[in-house]
């Protein structure tokens, strides 16, 4: 974890997670296959996030899930998991581990801060805890995960420098 900034009730850190994007139909067999591998049932409700100490598992859309490893694993294990999953014709698992960057945004003013960069409605009644969304933040396609007292924001690694500069600029101005 790298602390990026802390100012005016905003704390932003960069996190290193590993991630897999999984596509499938979300039916029983799909759930069983995933559960067999990592002992967690994929969330069934659209934009829902489930979380335990190891994973954050989100349903991005009707046929797409995002599995984020909160505790770093040996990369071989992840590749093995992907390989096992992909041995089933009806599922596609793609490794996103090092192609994404992750930012943890917390602090009392996190909503106001983020709303300088996105129009997304972050109010609790519209964006409840343990839900996720894919939206534009600082003109970049991002995913945002609501974890009660903080958000995890992810974007493509290629935008890392630009995104960090925008975060710093927004905090400083």
């Amino acid at each position: 974890m790298t602390k990026l900034l802390s100012s005016r009730d905003i704390d932003i850190s960069q996190r290193n997670f590993q991630q897999i994007i999984i596509r499938g139909d979300g039916k029983d067999r799909f759930n069983q296959i995933i559960n067999k591998e990592i002992s967690i049932i994929p969330p069934s409700k659209n934009l829902e996030v489930t979380k335990d100490d190891r994973f954050m598992f989100a349903k991005n859309s009707f046929d797409q899930w995002s599995l984020i490893y909160l505790v770093e694993r040996d990369y071989k294990e992840i590749l093995k998991f992907i390989s096992n999953i992909n041995s089933n014709d009806e599922i596609l698992a793609s490794d996103y581990s090092y192609g994404q960057v992750y930012f943890e945004i917390s602090g009392k003013n996190r909503n106001e801060f983020l709303n300088k960069l996105t129009h997304f409605d972050l109010r609790l009644k519209k964006f409840p805890v343990f839900s996720m969304a894919q939206t534009l933040i600082a003109k970049i396609d991002c995913s945002i995960y609501h974890l009660k007292d903080r958000y995890i924001v992810t974007c493509n690694r290629s935008f890392e420098d630009y995104f960090k500069e925008r975060l710093k600029d927004t905090a400083n101005i």
């Binding site: 994007i21 596509r23 990369y75 009806e90 490794d95 192609g99 500069e165």
Partner: protein, 996 residues
């Protein structure tokens, strides 16, 4: 008389003196003063010169509607066109007047007033027509010099920011009705945003003494209490100094907040915030705007709207003139009269256009009791004076003119609900004959209007109206007793313009003060046939100034309706467009400027490129090395020639991480790929790759790339760097809409693999050193195959492919290993003279080999047949996107533009990209008849390996022109360059290098 202080001022902090300059002269005001109120306090009446005639102008209003007092703020980056009636002063502020030279008092431009008979309506459209040559050298420079008011800011880099809000209810305006609405919504379930353009809440309550008490409390106490309750509430947020400028579709509003109202700007901080608000309901409580009346010289400094005069007294505590003349056609001016009397002053005359019986006994008694000369059924004929009002002519008893002396004339022509935002939201308005104005009728969105904006001018009934209109929100019940200091029966007599006595070319009756449009202009426009209000507006420029005719647009409708002998409701109203008031482009842009203008994408190797003197080019949002400078004085041409030559002699490496990559998997993946691409994939062996084309449904080439087949159920496809998102979106769209029966999933993996393209005769040697466990021999690793293997605990994929025509490999590795591997390749490649190359060399090398670039050889009108790519079309395939279009008569005809190679006959000549291919050696000068155009040059480079220029061109029937002599136009003259049409493959047509 000079200006006096009103000791009972409700807003100004008189214990805080502030100095500022106007046109270089130092003045003092108080904290909270606007430039206008401070200048009035200092008896400065001449503030500006008018736009067209350079007539002297003063302060006409006390708010955003001001048409005259527009100034330049020198110490705010030379900010032009600031409204003196809104902009607050602060210590050290430097203000200048605009549109005058050499000085405000003596302005040479005022000669325009003498020449004004020439500048009649439509002057711009009728003049400057000839002589022909005058436009460029005489008219345009003069117009450019004289156009506009202020001077643009210089060397100013704004730090404006945007702030998004999502709320349930927005209340626009924190005057009486806005505050009542907010108070009823305190601690309810709704998230509420209360927007107020001023630095304080209260609106009309602080602008006048029209309301005496609320709930038996003095109004200021009630405002304070209300503000306190709102602030401690959990659900309402107040934004002051925030003017709503736009009300867009789907209840989306834009408000501009001045973060430094009344303070000097701190250049390290954001000076403006553009609030973008999405709401469920919008409550418009934005009040009304007083309108003026046209009469002779109604623009002289000293003429002011009556309610504005009242506002200066109550809000800013300055009495601009103790003995003005009041001229009205309605009942709203009573409180001004009372305010003056209460302060121990009285008007020189009270002139009322209404009949005596409409005025009411109460007022008549009051006027008599206080010995105020009053005239009913009377009007102002005009006023006169040198750069200020001195004499005022009153017409009484229809024809008799009397003259009175005063320096100020307070005018009220009635009040208009401020319907700008309501109409921006597409709400419909209707004409009210009793109020003589338009008022909101049917809202288009979830809009509720309350208070005077809805046409309710009776403050006593405001609470009842709000209860009624907000009942569906089930707000809190609160007690509200409003005691007013005014008549609750608004009445008005229609009066738009008074009759002139004095005939003079220099005495004018204005309808639009900002744009110097006179009532005579309106009449002339109608005579000339511009009898539709939208046409007339543009012909005369009426209400097209930055004030959008806020105090006068209804008046012009009134005057035009009289000329046309129609009802105003028949004449209609012009469209109110956003923004409500001017806002700077910097506020609109926010932080999306300069380095943040467009997001930048960088590859994991980016910093290495910087350290190795890469010059970058933008490819989509990607920063790609264009070429690498060997030393600082090396030119781009030299670098590209060096990189190209060395790659063909030894080896070169390109960072191809930007290439789009898509993973495709599912039991129907093979069928899907066969449908998406022109190529057949059925017989393709696993672990092989193929160059593939994707067409649009029109048969035109859309994208290309290499498809790697793991097996029939699993593929990875590359796309062009810029085309990746579109190709992925197209794949998803087809899967979801056209072929939902196919069980296939696609994922973008562009960012998941860092990609290098290494090519050249030494590339195998280098690869063998880097990946010692892989057998790179031709037999074990033939052209267009790929292998997946473990590299330092991760998975790497190497494909034998090339975009240069040389022996080459593409390496795909996870980004966390990208830079390490890149450096490792160089470590081993140095002994083989490995050179990094950029996109320009990539283009040159591929052109030598005759490879096309999508978007360079193609332009959306090129089919695979045009490029002689027939071999890429799976003719036996049942279907693929664009198949049917390839057999259309137009796409199948033989004289379509086809891809050819071009070489100049004189090898020392260079052909430019984009030039025309023609059959004529020399172009006529001038060209009088069309010259037959055969096609265009799509790519052209100087080949260091052939030592002459090579080019690719799209030429009509090109396949049949091989060996023919043609000509290419040049940008240097009419003589064309003689060329020969050849095959587009210039190097290694036998593919010996590629497959070596």
């Amino acid at each position: 008389m000079s200006a006096l202080d009103n000791k009972k001022s409700s807003y100004i902090k008189k214990n805080k003196k502030v100095s500022f300059t106007f046109d270089g002269k130092k003045y003092y005001g108080y904290k909270g003063d606007t430039i206008a109120s401070a200048l009035l306090r200092n008896n400065v009446r001449l503030i500006a010169r008018s736009f067209k005639y350079h007539r002297p102008r003063g302060i006409y209003t006390c708010g955003i509607e001001e048409p005259n007092a527009i100034v330049q703020i020198l110490n705010e980056h030379n900010e032009p066109n600031a409204r003196a009636t809104v902009k607050q002063i602060y210590e050290g502020m430097k203000v200048d007047s605009q549109n005058r030279w050499p000085s405000l008092n003596l302005d040479i431009g005022s000669i325009n007033n003498l020449l004004s008979p020439m500048f009649s309506a439509g002057f711009y459209y009728k003049t400057f027509m000839g002589p022909k040559g005058f436009w460029k050298k005489i008219y345009e420079p003069i117009i450019r010099r004289t156009a506009g008011l202020g001077k643009p800011p210089k060397e100013f880099r704004s730090k404006s920011i945007h702030q998004n809000h999502n709320v349930d209810i927005v209340i626009v305006g924190a005057g009486l009705s806005g505050l009542i609405a907010a108070r009823k919504l305190i601690d309810t379930e709704y998230d509420v945003l209360l927007l107020e353009q001023d630095s304080f809440l209260g609106g009309v309550l602080k602008n006048s003494n029209k309301v005496e008490q609320i709930n038996n409390q003095e109004v200021n106490k009630w405002i304070k209490e209300t503000e306190r309750l709102i602030k401690i509430s959990t659900n309402i947020k107040i934004l002051k100094n925030s003017l709503v400028t736009s009300y867009n579709f789907t209840n989306h509003l834009i408000a501009l907040e001045d973060k430094f109202a009344g303070k000097a700007i701190d250049t390290s901080k954001s000076e403006l915030t553009l609030h973008k608000i999405r709401t469920t309901h919008t409550i418009l409580a934005n009040g009304h705007i007083e309108r003026f009346i046209s009469f002779r010289n109604n623009d002289l400094p000293g003429v002011m709207l009556a309610s504005s005069f009242e506002k200066y007294i109550h809000r800013y505590g300055v009495i601009p003139e103790t003995n003005p003349v009041i001229f009205t056609n309605n009942s709203t001016t009573v409180t001004l009269l009372k305010s003056l009397v209460d302060l121990g002053h009285k008007p020189v005359a009270y002139v009322d256009a209404r009949d005596k019986n409409k005025i009411g006994k109460k007022l008549l008694t009051y006027l008599k009791k206080n010995n105020i000369p009053f005239y009913f059924n009377a009007e102002i004929e005009g006023c006169d004076g040198n750069k200020k009002v001195e004499t005022i002519s009153i017409r009484k008893n229809k024809n008799k003119i009397i003259k009175v002396k005063s320096s100020m004339l307070c005018v009220s022509g009635g009040i208009n609900p401020d319907i700008h935002l309501f109409t921006q939201s597409k709400g419909l308005v209707k004409w009210d004959d009793k109020l003589i104005t338009f008022k909101p009728d049917v809202p288009f969105q979830n809009t509720i209007t309350i208070g005077s904006v809805s046409g309710n001018y009776n403050y006593e009934k405001t609470h009842d109206e709000i209860n009624n209109k907000l009942s569906f929100l089930k707000p809190k019940n609160i007690e509200m007793k409003i005691k007013i200091n005014d008549t609750n029966n608004f009445n008005i007599k229609e009066l738009w313009e008074t009759r002139h006595e004095k005939k003079s070319n220099w005495s004018k009756s204005f309808i639009d003060l900002h744009n110097d449009v006179t009532t005579k202009d309106l009449k002339q426009a109608v005579v000339e046939g511009f009898d539709r209000i939208e046409h007339l507006k543009r012909f005369t420029t009426n209400s097209m100034g930055t004030d959008q005719g806020k105090i006068s647009s209804i008046n012009s409708l009134g005057i035009v309706s009289k000329i046309l002998k129609k009802e105003i409701s028949e004449v209609g109203t012009t469209t109110y467009r956003p923004p409500y008031a001017p806002l700077s482009f910097s506020a609109i842009a926010g932080r999306n400027t300069y380095e943040f203008y467009d997001p930048q994408r960088k590859t994991p190797i980016h910093n290495w490129h910087i350290n190795n003197k890469a010059i970058f080019e933008d490819v989509g949002q990607w920063k790609r090395p264009w070429y690498f400078k060997e030393h600082d004085s090396e030119t781009m041409h030299q670098a590209v020639q060096r990189e190209s030559k060395q790659t063909r002699q030894t080896a070169g490496i390109l960072d191809g991480s930007t290439l789009g990559k898509i993973e495709i998997k599912g039991k129907d993946a093979l069928e899907f790929m066969n449908l998406m691409y022109t190529n057949p994939f059925t017989k393709m062996k696993p672990m092989t790759s193929r160059y593939a084309l994707m067409l649009g449904e029109d048969g035109m080439i859309k994208d290309d790339g290499i498809v790697c087949k793991f097996n029939d159920k699993h593929f990875i496809a590359t796309t062009t760097s810029g085309g990746a998102p579109k190709v992925l979106a197209d794949m998803e769209e087809y899967l979801q809409t056209e072929w939902p029966h196919l069980q296939v999933y696609v994922n973008s993996i562009t960012e998941q693999f860092t990609t290098f393209n290494i090519s050249g005769p030494k590339s195998r040697d280098i690869m063998s050193k880097v990946f010692t466990e892989v057998d790179f021999s031709n037999e074990n690793f033939p052209f267009m195959t790929f292998k997946v293997f473990n590299y330092k605990g991760t998975e790497a994929r190497i494909m034998r492919a090339s975009f240069t025509g040389e022996l080459g490999y593409e390496i795909y590795i996870t980004p966390n290993h990208g830079l390490e591997l890149w450096k490792r390749i160089f470590h081993h490649g140095n002994v083989f003279d490995l050179v990094p190359y950029g996109t320009e060399t990539m283009h040159l090398l591929r052109a030598e080999k005759g490879y096309v670039v999508i978007g360079q050889e193609t332009d959306g009108t090129v089919t695979p047949i045009d490029l002689n790519f027939n071999w890429m079309i799976g003719k036996k395939k049942k279907d693929f996107i664009g198949k049917r279009s390839l057999t259309r008569s137009d796409t199948a005809r033989e004289d379509r533009k086809q891809l050819v190679g071009i070489v100049p006959l004189d090898k020392s000549e260079f052909i430019e990209e984009g030039q025309h291919v023609v059959e004529r050696e020399r172009l006529p000068n001038p060209i009088k008849t069309p010259v037959e155009y055969l096609g265009h040059v799509s790519s052209s480079y100087h080949s260091p390996n052939l030592n002459h220029c090579i080019a690719m061109a799209m030429i009509k029937g090109g396949n049949k022109l091989m060996g023919k002599k043609l000509f290419i136009s040049s940008s240097y003259g009419t003589k064309n360059i003689a060329v020969e049409v050849v095959s587009p493959v210039f190097i290694d047509p036998e593919n010996k290098r590629l497959t070596s």
